[in-house]
């Protein structure tokens, strides 16, 4: 016991890490995490309504006010036109390519993260229903 404590102390000192433990976070931290998310979701709303994602000025929000009728809770699900189970970002990219006449975003493109954050934020509180049609 003593040995392991000493080892831990030694280890921490050796790499110069702060003395926080995994379960040590404050209300301020939680507020910051929430804010980080909200900022990204707000960025997503901006992209959603701006017409900047494609080439023809059409915005996602023209067909999906408040991101309605995107039902993120149903993904992944089978899309008969894609012939496979697809994720939400693939459908977002389908819309960017077609009605918006643009090109795909990478799944981890910060803009895609922002879009998915906004879409799911507008559906907060709705039960998960993966695969549902």
């Amino acid at each position: 016991m003593l040995r392991s404590t000493l080892l831990l102390a030694f280890g921490l000192a050796a790499i110069g890490a702060p003395a926080a433990r995994a379960d040590e976070f404050t209300k301020a931290d939680v507020d910051r995490y929430q804010k980080e998310f909200e900022q990204v979701a707000a960025k997503g709303r901006e992209l959603w309504t701006s017409g900047a994602l494609g080439t023809n000025g059409v915005a996602c929000g023209q067909c999906h006010p408040n991101a309605a009728n995107t039902h993120p809770e149903t993904y992944p699900k089978f899309q008969k036109q894609l012939g496979k189970v697809a994720q939400l970002f693939e459908m977002a990219n389908w819309c960017i390519r077609n009605p918006l006449q643009g090109s795909n975003l990478a799944p981890d493109d910060p803009r895609m993260t922002a879009l998915v954050s906004y879409i799911t934020f507008e559906r907060r509180g709705v039960k998960l229903a993966p695969g549902q049609h």
Binding site: T49, T55, P65, N66, A68, N69, N98, P99, G125, V126
Partner: protein, 357 residues
């Protein structure tokens, strides 16, 4: 059930000896009393012609309007006149209104236009007026009194004092779900005009009122709403049969409030979700309305279309010409005293729904 044969189908039949192709349309012609005649008019709405730059426009929206115009011109027998229900352009630009007006100019028959918010908030309807005349007016046709209202006005403060530029004002109103928008209204001045206009009309004369926004309250967040709807309804109440037809919502809706029947019309551009699919707010879709199935984006023209409106016995039958769905007909049921979908109203007659979520 019968079918209207189009000119196109007649030509196809005569040319190749092929089987006649027809646009199937269920005919619900109701017995007409007195000296008035049954008639039909064409209703096209919400084209949202959108300029990209210069002479290029969003192809998808162009195709919707072109298709509606082409099909309306092929109908036989020809309808008596055409209504365009508003939102000809997307951002009210001259280029958009001109491009849309050019397409509409191919229509046979007299065109009456209704003002939409997308036509109005750039220059307050100035250029639109050069194309289509006054923002509100009335006319008579075969014993029916028709009224066209501009229902997309809003407060003086929002219209004149809120935004630094006309372009920004237009953009703020163009976002359906934009919290910086403002509720639509007909307004005092126009309601006074309406009261005067109706004072000259016999209460037994059937009324048909065209507005862009619903003259009833469904969901304020998307302006499926007119703020002074009740005041307008009060002016319509003394008449025996009143029909309100509106665009803006890009989906089938119908309702009955007292003596007033309400029918919405489709957009040629794109469909909108039913408001109940927005999980964060309450909305009030009329309980009478059997919603359309959820639109499938893989079909570019799904849940868009145009309509033929029959007037029989002073009541409306809306025959929705839906391009990627089976057509629907919503007709006034005289026994029930309200509009019904002639195929799907009974719960046992519904199809497997693609739910709205």
């Amino acid at each position: 059930m019968s079918e209207l044969i189009t000119r196109r189908s007649v030509l196809a039949g005569a040319g190749a000896g092929a089987a006649l192709t027809t646009l199937p349309i269920s005919m619900v012609t109701l017995a007409f009393g007195g000296t008035r005649e049954d008639f039909t008019f064409t209703y096209i709405s919400d084209a949202h012609i959108q300029q990209i730059k210069g002479a290029s426009f969003v192809r998808n929206w162009d195709m919707g309007l072109k298709r509606a115009v082409a099909e309306a011109n092929l109908m036989k027998p020809e309808s008596d006149f055409v209504i365009f229900g508003g939102d000809l352009g997307q951002l009210g630009k001259r280029e958009e209104l001109d491009h849309g007006a050019e397409m509409l100019s191919h229509l046979k028959g007299k065109l009456h236009a209704v003002m939409g918010e997308h036509d109005f908030y750039l220059d307050l309807g100035d250029y639109w007026s050069k194309l289509y005349g006054p923002h509100y007016y009335s006319f008579d046709h075969k014993g029916v009194h028709f009224v066209v209202l501009n229902s997309i006005l809003t407060s003086e403060q929002w219209t004149f004092h809120r935004w630094p530029t006309a372009e920004q004002r237009m953009l703020e109103m163009a976002g359906l779900d934009n919290p910086n928008g403002s509720p639509f209204m007909v307004g005092d001045k126009q309601r006074k005009w309406l009261a005067n206009d109706l004072a000259k009309v016999d209460k037994k004369t059937p009324l048909v009122v065209f507005s862009h926004s619903p003259l009833q309250k469904i969901y304020k967040g998307w302006n499926f709403w007119t703020d002074d709807a009740e005041e307008v309804q009060a002016l319509l109440r003394p008449f025996d049969s009143v029909n309100v037809i509106y665009g803006h919502v890009h989906q089938i809706q119908y309702n009955q409030i007292g003596n007033i029947s309400f029918n919405s019309v489709m957009a040629t551009a794109w469909p909108w979700p039913y408001p109940q699919s927005y999980a964060q707010a309450e909305s009030h879709l009329p309980v009478l309305t059997i919603p359309m199935n959820r639109a499938d984006p893989f079909f570019e023209r799904d849940a868009t279309g145009w309509q033929l409106i029959d007037i029989g016995s002073g009541r409306v039958t809306a025959r929705y010409q839906l391009w990627d769905n089976d057509s629907r007909t919503v007709a006034f049921d005289h026994k029930a005293g309200h509009p019904v979908d002639v195929a799907y109203q009974e719960p046992t007659q519904r199809r497997l729904p693609q739910n709205h979520f």
